[in-house]
């Protein structure tokens, strides 16, 4: 038995094939992570919520009352989108997954940002042609802030119950709308160009994203160690 029949690869091929393999592996890893978090299903639900917003705006589903009441249904739909994004942080693998490598925080960050962008796009598309109180600027701000509450809830309560964050915040917002509160922390009650409200909303989104990226969703009864 000899090695006479073995051909040497051409010079340079050895470096090229691992590089492409690495890229493919990275893409595959990202895709597997997205699938494990049910991101495709989440994207479908976000598209459905966009369609629901379109139906609400074009079908005149608004709540009877003043301008504040007109915001209620769009806000409920934005809350639903934030809740869907938040529960994608739930993972069944726990420590096993956390021990697999250094890419996990980046995958978490990328998933959160990607789904938030998908939600913003779906809702903005749904609002096209209809009268959305505050316009797309307010939509993006409100969605970002509510998603932030969901991601913070994921870090504190776990991915399975992360939806409680946006839902609880919606109740606060409803009171703020009814009573004309002016604090920027109830950003949906503020005008779309309000700087304080935007800082609060995007600040909460940044905090939520950072918490989920670094800590991950709380698993079981133990808080995972920072990656």
């Amino acid at each position: 038995m000899t090695a006479a029949g073995i051909h040497r690869p051409p010079p340079g091929a050895a470096e090229a094939r691992p590089a492409s393999r690495r890229a493919l592996a990275t893409l595959r890893l990202a895709w597997l992570y997205l699938v494990s978090r049910r991101a495709p299903a989440a994207a479908g639900l976000l598209a459905a919520l966009g369609a629901l917003l379109r139906a609400a705006l074009h079908g005149n589903w608004s709540v009877a009352g003043g301008p504040a009441a007109q915001q209620v249904l769009p806000l409920v739909i934005e809350t639903g989108a934030a809740a869907v994004i938040a529960v994608t942080t739930y993972g069944p693998f726990g420590d096993t997954e956390r021990a697999t490598g250094r890419w996990l925080p980046w995958l978490r960050l990328g998933t959160a940002l990607l789904l938030t962008a998908v939600a913003a796009g779906a809702l903005a598309a749904g609002a096209t042609g209809g009268h959305l109180p505050g316009g797309s600027l307010a939509l993006a701000r409100n969605l970002a802030g509510m998603t932030g509450t969901g991601l913070l809830a994921a870090a504190a309560l776990g991915g399975a119950f992360a939806w409680t964050g946006p839902m609880a915040y919606w109740l606060i917002t409803e009171s703020a709308l009814t009573r004309s509160w002016t604090t920027p922390w109830t950003w949906p009650a503020r005008p779309p160009h309000d700087l304080g409200a935007a800082l609060c909303a995007y600040g909460v989104f940044a905090a939520g994203t950072a918490a989920v990226t670094l800590l991950g969703a709380r698993h079981s009864s133990r808080r995972p160690a920072p990656e």
Binding site: V63, T88, R179
Partner: protein
């Protein structure tokens, strides 16, 4: 040789028949211990405090006003329902989520029975939490000396609503198990409540009365003080919500894995029964008509609910006239006597002037609050009858003591001029404006008082531009504005007279004024 003949006969253990309920109780206990609902109750408690209790504390200490937001408009349900639906969906999807659906399907108990035990535990936690939170809130109200009687029927509606959300959420989780079941069930519940509010605010009759957020014509000040809360509509709502719960639980038993054919047929019957119950509730609500004390559903109405609540009035003196209120309004007696003092002082001794002022129950209106109940002067000797529940009591919905006093003065003067349910003739309007000026409501403030929310419709009609050939109203334009025009010119002349001269003129012309025969030109 065997022991067969000598061995004692072994009988069936006497407790064998009890084993089924014991096993069910044990299963329920296990489910209660491992249920996720208790973990969400602190969050619901925070939402309940923030959204249901805290806003109510600004209202006057009268049960029907304190609980208008959280019970009448169903905010306790809004605070509980979505969270309960979400957690119930999580509990309902447990077996599939944990990958043990096949395992539990082959156990001795049918799948449906085990799921019902899981749902029952979830519902016990949820409804128990609801009742405890409401009990604590009501206890705090009672400690604060809130007057009247609590709206117990609305508590029952809330408990039924929590049960229905729990059943619907559980069904979503059991039939569509995934990580998205919980947020979608909660979102669906939020959407339902938002749509319910939307429909409830705009529908004053028909099927929409079944919605527990709809307070139109069924939650107004006379209830719990002068008359009991009418249970007709709450009974229909409980029927509707219980029907939804039963139908949702029946749905869980329909899939092939839920049990044998007999059990699935039973589940179908249960589902149908739930749908029928819910439909019956909607149908009954559609037959509701507005009565003087609330919504009456003929098929459910008990005449005993129309009996007034007995009470001993609390009385004070105002310009020598006894002013008597329901004891639930005791804290407002000083405000009422102070507000009526200048008015009663102006009309004292005049023919038809009231010798007594007493609070009466206002009639229900079809809107959200009791609106349009005018004061009247009637009887011999004449008595001023005041439905105070229709006014913006100090603290109620942002009302102040000064606004309350001004509205009392306006309504009592309007009753004195004999204008009745309409804005009155120009002469009556002029006398009304002059007497109000004398009672401390300047001309410049009168249009603002007339435009206040909660007054009878004649108040806003007074502000309308005058009808052709009918003289001029107090304001030349629609809405509050400067007190100008012929009516106010005549009122200013009358007000400028010395009190004794004005009194003498009123004594001489009161009959003609009240009968509507006096013209503006005949005023001094």
């Amino acid at each position: 040789m065997t022991a067969a003949t000598s061995a004692p006969v072994r009988h069936q253990p006497p407790h064998a028949s009890r084993s089924v309920p014991l096993t069910a109780a044990r299963l329920l206990r296990l489910e209660l211990r491992r249920n996720p609902m208790p973990w969400i109750l602190p969050l619901i408690a925070a939402a309940f405090w923030f959204d249901s209790y805290r806003p109510s504390t600004t209202q006057p200490p009268i049960w029907v006003l304190r609980t208008f937001w959280n019970m009448g408009q169903g905010h306790t349900i809004i605070d509980f329902g979505p969270f309960v639906a979400g957690v119930a969906a999580w509990a309902g999807s447990r077996d599939v989520r944990r990958g043990i659906a096949d395992l539990v399907t082959v156990t001795a108990r049918s799948r449906w029975a085990a799921q019902l035990a899981s749902w029952a535990a979830t519902a016990i936690w949820a409804v128990g939490g609801y009742l405890v939170f409401v009990a604590v809130m009501f206890g705090v109200y009672a400690h604060q000396g809130v007057q009247g009687s609590p709206p117990w029927w609305w508590v029952a509606v809330g408990a039924a609503a929590v049960t229905a959300f729990c059943a619907a959420g559980f069904a979503v989780g059991a039939l569509f198990p995934s990580r998205f079941a919980a947020p979608l069930a909660a979102f669906g519940a939020f959407l339902v409540m938002a749509m319910s509010s939307r429909t409830g605010f705009s529908h004053t009759s028909g099927w929409a009365l079944i919605l527990p957020t709809n307070s139109n014509g069924n939650y107004q000040p006379p209830s719990g003080i002068f008359y009991p809360y009418l249970p007709d509509l709450p009974i229909a709502r409980v029927m509707f919500l219980a029907g939804i719960a039963v139908a949702a639980l029946g749905l869980i038993g329909l899939p092939a894995g839920a049990g044998g054919p007999w059990l699935r047929r039973t589940a179908a019957v249960v589902t149908l029964a739930g749908v029928v119950a819910a439909g019956t509730g909607v149908g009954l609500a559609g037959t509701a008509r507005l009565g003087p004390h609330g919504m009456v559903i003929p098929a459910l109405h008990d005449a005993a609910s129309d009996r007034p609540i007995r009470y001993t009035p609390v009385c004070g003196q105002s310009a020598g006239v006894a002013v008597c209120l329901n004891p639930a309004y005791r804290q407002f007696l000083p405000d009422v006597t102070a507000a009526l003092r200048p008015v009663l002082g102006e009309v004292a001794g005049l023919p038809g002037g009231p010798v007594r002022a007493t609070q009466v129950a206002g009639a229900y209106s079809s809107g959200e609050g009791e609106v349009g109940a005018p004061m009247t002067i009637s009887g011999r000797p004449p008595v001023l009858r005041m439905p105070l529940g229709s006014l913006n009591l100090p603290g109620a919905f942002g009302g102040s003591t000064a606004q309350f006093a001004q509205q009392l003065k306006l309504l009592s003067v309007h009753a004195f001029t004999g204008a009745g349910a309409g804005p009155g003739t120009p002469a009556q309007q002029a006398v009304q404006a002059a007497l109000l000026q004398g009672a401390g409501v300047p001309f410049s403030a009168q249009n603002g008082v007339l435009s206040a929310v909660g007054l009878p419709s004649w108040a806003s009609a007074t502000l309308q531009p005058p009808a052709s050939g009918h003289g001029a109203g107090p304001a030349e334009e629609d809405g509050p504005g400067p007190a100008t025009g012929p009516v106010h010119a005549a009122a200013r002349r009358l007000a400028a007279l010395p009190p004794s001269a004005r009194h003498a003129w009123l004594a001489a012309h009161l009959g003609a004024l009240r009968s509507g025969q006096l013209t503006l030109a005949q005023l001094p």
